[in-house]
């Protein structure tokens, strides 16, 4: 069965600092991987996705993520965070766009930004 682990519940960084949010997945084949962001009081918005090909994917708002099959990881990065990046971030895995595909989410990482 698919599963997703986000080992950090909370992360605090200073504005302008770099950011890395960790995500590990469990799935037998090549998964489809996603990062979503949820700002306070808002719905979930897709940041980026990986299906195949280049293992470094670019997303919106200056985010990127790297798929590492050997480590079963899909970590999210941003070189310089802004106060508006304070939100909760969710990693998700799907089995590959099949008809009966289900999408499993991690427990989330809440990002706090220090001024």
């Amino acid at each position: 069965a698919q599963s997703v682990t986000q080992p950090d519940i909370h992360i605090t960084v200073s504005e302008g600092a770099s950011l890395e949010l960790r995500c590990n997945y469990s799935y037998g084949a090549t998964p489809y991987l996603f990062w979503y962001v949820q700002s306070p009081g808002q719905g979930l918005q897709l940041l980026l996705k990986y299906f195949s090909g280049d293992t470094l994917v670019q997303g919106i708002k200056g985010f990127e993520a790297e798929f590492k099959r050997s480590q079963s990881s899909f970590n999210l990065r941003k070189p310089s965070v802004h106060w508006s990046d304070a939100a909760e971030y969710f990693c998700a895995v799907a089995s590959g766009g099949n008809r009966d595909d289900k999408i499993i989410f991690g427990k989330g990482t809440r990002l706090h930004i220090l001024p």
Binding site: Y32, L44, K49, G97, R99, D100, I103, K107
Partner: protein, 110 residues
């Protein structure tokens, strides 16, 4: 843009009531999902559907049922609401495994 609409943003129901949460999507997606979101637990899959009248249990289906009579509509039913079902409920539809979410329904059971 894909639009997923949940019928209510906030609901307050009494213990034992039958509760219906409605979700409609306008992009002809085959797959639809119901999740509940609780602090520290992330999004947990309750049920999903990949076609009309088809449903699959997710990780926490107990106490819930679903209905999908039309492709665009996916309903979550709490047969007898309990206080431990107080939560944020999120509906989504998907295309090529990418999920599109509604704004959520915050349900309080008193």
């Amino acid at each position: 843009d894909v639009k997923v609409t949940q019928s209510s943003r906030y609901l307050v129901k009494r213990t034992g009531e039958k509760v219906f949460l409605e979700c409609v999507q306008d992009m002809d997606h085959e797959n639809m999902f119901w999740y509940r979101q609780d602090p520290g637990l992330g999004l947990r899959l309750i049920y999903f559907s990949y076609d009309v009248k088809m449903k699959e249990k997710g990780d926490i289906p107990e106490g819930y049922s679903v209905s999908r009579e039309k492709k665009e509509r996916f309903s979550l039913i709490l047969e007898s609401a309990s206080t431990n079902q107080t939560s944020m409920y999120l509906c989504a539809s998907s295309f090529l495994a990418e999920a599109f979410f509604g704004q959520g329904t915050r349900l309080t059971v008193v």
